[in-house]
């Protein structure tokens, strides 16, 4: 079961500043389980898509070298209050998750 995505959106003028924290282990495949000593299998987010009102504005392709519980901040121009920002990710096991947040009024 995928861990949650946390999003914080701020409106500055017509720019939405979006901060996202994605719950994901981002295992490199190099780490050993401290209890068993067995290597923990590779498990990482491969792609992320950000949308504004359903339209893709940013896509990202990642390796396992993005930190555990990935953090991402980006800015979308031409946004206004009540617009909807969406985030969706897919990992190397085909698991995925998505979240949405409304753009608040500026201030």
């Amino acid at each position: 079961m995928a861990e949650p995505i946390r999003m914080r959106v701020k409106l500055e003028g017509d720019v939405a500043d979006v901060r996202v924290l994605i719950g994901h282990p981002m295992e490199t495949g190099l780490r050993k389980d401290p209890k068993t000593g067995e290597p923990v299998p590779l498990h990482f987010i491969k792609s992320v898509t950000a949308t504004l009102n359903g339209k893709a504005v940013l896509t990202a392709q990642w390796s396992q070298a993005v930190s555990r519980n990935p953090y991402m901040q980006f800015r979308i121009k031409g946004a206004k209050a009540d617009d909807e920002v969406g985030i969706e990710w897919v990992d190397n096991r085909g698991e995925s998750n998505r979240a949405r947040a409304k753009v608040p009024a500026a201030g």
């Binding site: 990202a60 392709q61 555990r68 990935p70 953090y71 980006f74």
Partner: protein
């Protein structure tokens, strides 16, 4: 001996291959930018990774602003901010030269997104951080050395 079933199955696999090639050729061009580039991600050295990502002869640029610590105490969480002032920036690529697989990731800025990204990456040891910007089919590059106290590849 009857070879008919064999022949039939090879004809079938030929048709399947043909259909796959046709599907690849018909796929719209814009989806290519967002493809997960396995060859680039699997590359074990930065020159190979750059080449596989289609980055040839990037020009050194002062228009790529990198904000990152000079010394990162924890290689598992190295904060990196990138702002591209190169007009028409389409994509930002991040590489860590001395990571086992140097290509960390790429960010495509589509309609409306400003050419800015802030994220956190893993670094196995002290290394150059290499940022490449693709703008209008040309590549621009900036590098920054980051000293790592405790490596983050086992993290």
């Amino acid at each position: 001996m009857n070879t008919e079933p064999n022949r039939r199955s090879s004809r079938r696999s030929f048709l399947a291959l043909f259909a796959a090639l046709l599907a690849a050729a018909l796929r719209p061009l814009q989806t290519w930018a967002g493809e997960w580039n396995k060859a680039a991600f699997d590359a074990r050295n930065v020159q190979e990774a750059l080449k596989s990502a289609g980055i040839l002869n990037p020009a050194a640029s002062g228009d790529i602003v990198i904000k990152a610590p000079e010394i990162a105490e924890n290689g598992a969480q190295v904060p990196v901010d990138i702002l591209s002032k190169v007009p028409g920036t389409d994509t930002v690529y991040i590489f860590v030269d001395r990571n086992p697989q140097p290509f960390v990731g790429s960010f495509d800025f589509l309609d409306g997104a400003e050419p800015f990204i802030s994220t956190r990456i893993k670094m196995g040891e002290t290394s150059n951080l290499r940022v490449v910007v693709r703008a209008g089919g040309r590549h621009h590059m900036a590098t920054r050395e980051i000293k790592v106290t405790i490596g983050g590849c086992g993290a």
